[in-house]
Structure formats: C-alpha cells, structure tokens
Amino acid sequence: MSFPSQDRRADEKLGQILGRVGSVRTRLNSLALQHAIFYTLAIAIAGGAAVFAGAYLLSPLAFLVGASALVIIGCAGIASAVGAGWRMRASAVRAAAIADDRAELKGRLSTIVALANHQTRGSLWSYLVEDTIGYQDQFAAARIERRRVSRAIYPLAAAFVLAALAIPISKINHAPQVTPGSGQDDLTVDLEDLHLRPADPGDESGMQVTADAATMRRLEDKLARESAANGEAGGNSLNQLVNRARDMAGHLQSRLTGQKMASEQRLNLRLADAGGDQDQNEIHRAPETQKNRRSDIAGQFKQDQPKSSREIDLPREDDLRHPNSEPSPGANGESGAEANSGKDNPGNRDNSATDRRIQQSGENGGNGGAAHGIGADPDSLFGAPAAPKLGTEGFEIAIEARPVDHGAKGAGHAYVAPKVRAPLSLNQEPDEPVARAAVPAEDRTTIKRVFDR
C-alpha cells in the first residue's frame, strides 16, 4: 500500500527523470537541426561558389553542363542533409534510448519514458524510478551529448573557404575567347562562294548576318542546300537546341560575371542583295564580268566595336541599278569605294578576283559617300544622298561560320581566313569617300548626254 506522500515523491522523481530526458532530447534535436541547416548552407554556398567560378572559367556549354550537374547534385545533397537531420531528430523514447546507451543504464530510461503514461505501471514501478534517479548524474544532458554545435559546422566552414577562393577568380581579367578571324576588320565575301553549314554545337565562334529579306532568303536557301548536301538536316533541331542552351548559358554567365562573354561576340555579316534571281544569273556571267560584279556587290566585314561583332555589308543590286534609290551608306558607298579601288589598284583587283577583300576599319566607318564609285550607270549619277535602306528592310539572323579549306560547290574559291589588320603606314591615309555634290539642273542634260554617248 502506498501513501499519498510516497506517490507525490515518486511523481517528483519521475518529473526529474523526464525533465533530464527532455533536456537530452532538446540538445539532440538542436544538433539535428544544426546538421540540416549547416549542411544545406554548406552545399548551397559551395555550389554557388563553384557555379560562380565556373562562369568565369568555363565555356558556355561546359558551364551549362557543369552548373546543371552541380544543381542536381546540390539538390540531392540538400535533400539528403535535410533527410539526415530529420532522421537524427529524437523523440522522447529515442532520446531515452540514446541516454541509456551512452550512460549504460540498461534500458531504465527507455522503460520509464515508455511506461510513464501507462495506467498500470506494476508494483516495481516505484522501484524503477528510485533506482533510476540514483543515476541522474549519469544521464545529464551535458554528459549524454557534450556538443552544443553540430559537427556540420566544419563542412560549412569549408564551404566558406571555397567561396572565398572563388572571389580571386572573379578578379582575374579573362580575355574573351577569340573567334576565328577576330583580328580582322573587314572581310569581303561573295554569297555564292560562301561555303555555309550549321555550326557544330560546341563551336563558340559565331557570325551575325544582316541583310535584306531577299538576300536572306537566298542565304537560307543556300544554307538549306548545303545542309541537305552534307546530310545534316536531321541534326539541325538538335544543333538549334544546343545553340539555344549555349546562348542561355552565355547569358547566365554574363549575369554572373557582369561581362560579355565570348559567345556574344559574334561576327555580324550584313548582306545587301535584293535581286536574288538576277543576281543568281549574273553570278554565272563571264568571269570578267563576274569578277567585277563580285567586286561591286561584295560587302565588307565591319568590326562593330561596341558589340564586339563584325559586319559584312553587301550593296543592294537595286542600288546599283537605280540611281535614285537610296543607297546604304555603309554598303553602297563602301562597295563603290572598293570598286574604284579595284579599278585603280591591281592588287585590289586580284583580291577582288578571289572574292575576298580585306579593308582597314578606318575605311569602312559607315560614313562613306552613298553613291560614290557607282560610276558608269547614268541613272545613278544624280541621286541625292540617301539614308541606309537596310535600316528598314534588313533583319538579322545568327549563323555560325568558320573557315573551311574548300570552297562551295567543290570548285569555288577557297575560303581564306581573315587576316590580321595591319596598321597604315605614315604615308598612307584611309580612303575618304568623296562627298556627293549636287549637280545643277541646267547641267544634267549635258552630263547625261555625255555619259550616254
């Protein structure tokens, strides 16, 4: 028979035991929470640092693959860390079991915690409580679990170190990747002699083509023919996807690093040729005529410094044929200058014969005379200075171009890699387009008659 005072004392002792077990549980759960948080932070910080460093060190595709892998691994690691923390959490029974093991109490605490709320505890319950309270010093929270901070703090510290190491990487001035021919300012090409094909997915070089609609249609047709001939039609969609992924990675890199990446430094190729069919026919003229024609219509590469891109401007055939049409200052003028120079300079004529013309950037600043050098066509003699027509009719697509060692159609002119720009000597001056002068109305008839003759 038990007395109320005995029961009260037994309950007090039971409360002490349960309180100590509760403190053990609190400490264990704190460590579990710290484990989850620290590991999550460590993975996030280390992964972020790795992605940040990869944005500086890796090419876009490698960065995309690496970052994706890191994100997947990081997510899995965070899930694992959270799961581990969740599994480390301790209920009261589990905390008692851990305390039993570490204090070698042989299940006393587990039994008390498990049976504390039972209605019938048995005649040995008070003995068990008295027996267990005698070991209360052994199952204090500080003795069961000495650590207040989880060992996961070490991975977190390592992650901070890794992040600190990533900072110097960002300070290294990485030169943008050089695209093929990036040292060139201008490149004169002929559309028909271009050997075009979709770029390889991993190719980092790029070219941006600007042309009017008709020229672009021709370019697309040519590209389709070349692709079909090369049997690459099936891989276009994949290549497009890869290119999109690369562009996306490049943008992400740019955002991370705050600088333009190499993939954005594309070569801008501006084509101006609206007379598709006629031009097609003209291409098959006599070699001499074709040579001149190529010299006339061949555009030029233009290094677009702010964009780090290069443009090739080809004159529109309409502009060549109709003097009243508004020529593009960056196209007609420059092509005219080139035509003139082709006539005057045998060396340039040779270059024109090979359909490639490299000019200094100072010569193609886009401020050349609009109809300068068009010359023999009397209809174009009296045109007023025109605004560039490509501004309204042209559009841009991005294609990949790179040098190949054989020409189009197997018999064309071999593609010559653009040469490095050579500075002008002291005795040289860049070509200056002659300003178009207004012809007096009373003299027009006379001048036209002279040229007609």
Binding site: K106, G107, L128, D131
Partner: protein, 346 residues
C-alpha cells in the same frame, strides 16, 4: 534451514534467493554455472527445461540437487520404450475399501509432484512423450475423463542423450516448443573434473541445505515467479525480441540490417528449415526478466534478451540437412541472428 523471507519479495530478495539456491546446487554440481543459472531462470520464469548432455555429466544429479535445495517434492521417470502414458499420468485402479467394496480409484502417477525429472525422454514412444504435454502446458492431467490439477510450482526437467540415437524417438516440435530453455551440459574441464573426483569419491558427500521450509517453499517460489512477471519491458524490448524470433525464420531478411542481410541469407535461409515459434519470444522476455532481477533492475534490457537467446531459441529452430552436413548447429544460427538484428534500429 534458512530464514523465511518477507511475504512480498523485493528485487533484492529475488537476487539473494537465487544466488543462494545456486550456491547450494554448486555444492554438489561442479562447474556448469551457466547451466545452473539457466535452469533456475526457467524455474522462476515458470517454464520447463530440456537438458541435453552426454552420459555422466551430472544431469540427474543436477535435478536431484535442485529438488533438495528448493525443498520441493521430486519425482523421476526413466523413460523407456515400453513406458506407457498411464505410467506417467496415473491410472484408475480397483481398490477394496474397508467395507470390502471394490471401486475405481485414481492412483496419481509420477507426474504429480513439484519437480519432475524425465530421464532420457527420447527413449519413450511419442505417445508416452505426449502424455507430458498437457501437464507441462496446462498443469493438469486428464485421466478417464477426469481432470486433475497439478500443484504449483510445477517444473519439468527432461534429459536427452545426444549420442545414443538408436532406438530413440526424437521429440516432436510441439513438445520441444513447450520447454522454455534447452540447457546443454558439456564435459567439465580438467579443474572441474578434479574437483568432481575429490568431492564424490571421499567418505563424506556434501550436504545440501534447503533454502525454503518444506511447508512454505511452494508459496515462496510462486511469489518469486510473480515478481518476475512484474518486471517491466519497454515496447522497444518487446519489438527486439519479436525481431529476433522473426529473424530466425527463413525468408525474413527484412528484420535485419542491409549489412547483415547477406549473413542472414547465408545462415538462416540456407540452413534453417523452420524458425522459432512465438513461444520463443515469450521465452526471451521471461528469461530476460529473471536476468534483470538478478542484476537488480526492474526492467529488461537488450543484453538480458541476448543473454538468454541461445537457451530460449536454439531448440525451436529446425535445421535442414545442409546444416547437418556443414556441421552448423542451432546455437550458432542464433548467435549470428543476434548480431544481425542488433544493429537494426528499433
């Protein structure tokens, strides 16, 4: 004669009584400390014991000594092939009264006692062996439609001779399962054998002092048995015992850890035909409770369960011919099962 303990024994009383009985037994029995402890544990847990040992290892002497130390009634049955069930349970015989009238009267067999020794039980036919089943399991005997209660405590100790198998009838599984523990008596070592020689060949034999008075011995033992039942078992310990039993059963690899699954498959699935029955889990917990009281605790621990696991489970596991050919015994299986389940989280 020892002093009488208090009516309600305490944990300390139990341990003291237990140790004293041990000491009295070891006055005659040299060595076999673990066997004696398991024997007494089975007694206080309310079970029966199957003793297996080669001839001359003291099986019968052990049982006799126990009866003397406990001061309980003791009977011995030498099982033979021609032993009949009525020879064990008793039978109705015609007796003449004082008035000359003849009437059937029940003559109790040797089963009516507190401690029964069934010597070489495997020499009797299964029919005779099964006569013990009701007595062991339900503490009653039914003869000619009349049920007779046995007086508690009732403790059956049966011996097996493992090397004389010719003309024997191995105990069926149902009967083996009714023994709480199976105790092995091995050969004594040299020191123990020397002591046996000196103590048994001299002019005087060691006298056994009964721990209890004859009149109060049954009640005292029953009180200690009730105390054993009061020992608390946390649910985790019951789960552990259940998993141990389940792990002895083939195709129950899920109760062991992944690391131990290969070992479990290698041992249990390969060598075990039938695993332990649920009585094995009961035996584990009851034996663990006795161990806990001996350790001064009112709760069982995992160590207590593991300590009695071999004695409680080995005889309940049926091995196949592969085990026999490879020389694997059930005790070895149980030890491997313990290691496998121990690492599992409860």
């Amino acid at each position: 004669m020892s002093e009488v303990q208090a009516e309600t024994p305490t944990v300390a009383d139990f341990a003291r009584t237990f140790r004293r009985i041990q000491a009295e037994i070891h006055k005659l029995i040299i060595g076999h400390e673990q066997a004696v402890e398991e024997l007494l544990s089975a007694l206080f847990a309310g079970g029966h014991v199957l003793i297996e040992g080669v001839p001359g290892t003291g099986k019968t002497t052990l049982v006799k000594t126990l009866g003397l130390a406990l001061n309980l009634s003791f009977n011995r049955i030498q099982f033979t092939v021609d032993l009949m069930p009525a020879d064990i349970t008793g039978t109705r015989v015609i007796l003449s009264g004082e008035d000359g009238r003849r009437e059937f009267s029940f003559q109790p067999g040797p089963v009516f006692c507190h401690i029964l020794l069934g010597d070489e039980i495997n020499r009797a036919t299964p029919k005779t062996q099964s006569a013990l089943l009701e007595a062991m399991a339900e503490l009653q005997v039914t003869v000619s439609g009349t049920t007779y209660r046995l007086k508690p405590p009732y403790f059956v100790m049966a011996t097996l001779n493992p090397i004389e198998m010719e003309g024997t009838y191995p105990l069926p599984e149902a009967q083996l399962d009714r023994f709480l523990f199976k105790v092995r008596l091995n050969y004594p070592d040299e020191g123990e054998l020397t002591r046996i020689i000196s103590s048994t060949t001299g002019p005087e034999e060691a006298g056994i002092e009964a721990v209890f008075h004859a009149t109060e011995a049954p009640e005292r033992i029953e009180a200690l048995k009730r105390l054993v039942r009061e020992v608390m078992a946390a649910p985790a310990m019951e789960i552990y015992a259940a998993r141990l039993v389940r792990a002895t059963q083939p195709q129950n690899s899920r109760f062991v850890t992944d690391e131990a699954r290969a070992v479990h498959d290698e041992m249990v699935n390969r060598y075990v035909m039938f695993g332990s029955s649920p009585r094995g889990a009961q035996a584990l917990i009851l034996g663990a409770k006795v161990r806990a009281l001996l350790d001064g605790r009112a709760n069982i621990a995992r160590e207590d369960i593991e300590h009695v696991a071999v004695a409680a489970l080995a005889h309940r596991i049926m091995l196949n011919y592969a085990a026999l050919s490879d020389g694997i015994d059930a005790a070895h299986i149980v030890e491997r099962v313990i290691k496998s389940v121990r690492a599992a989280k409860l």
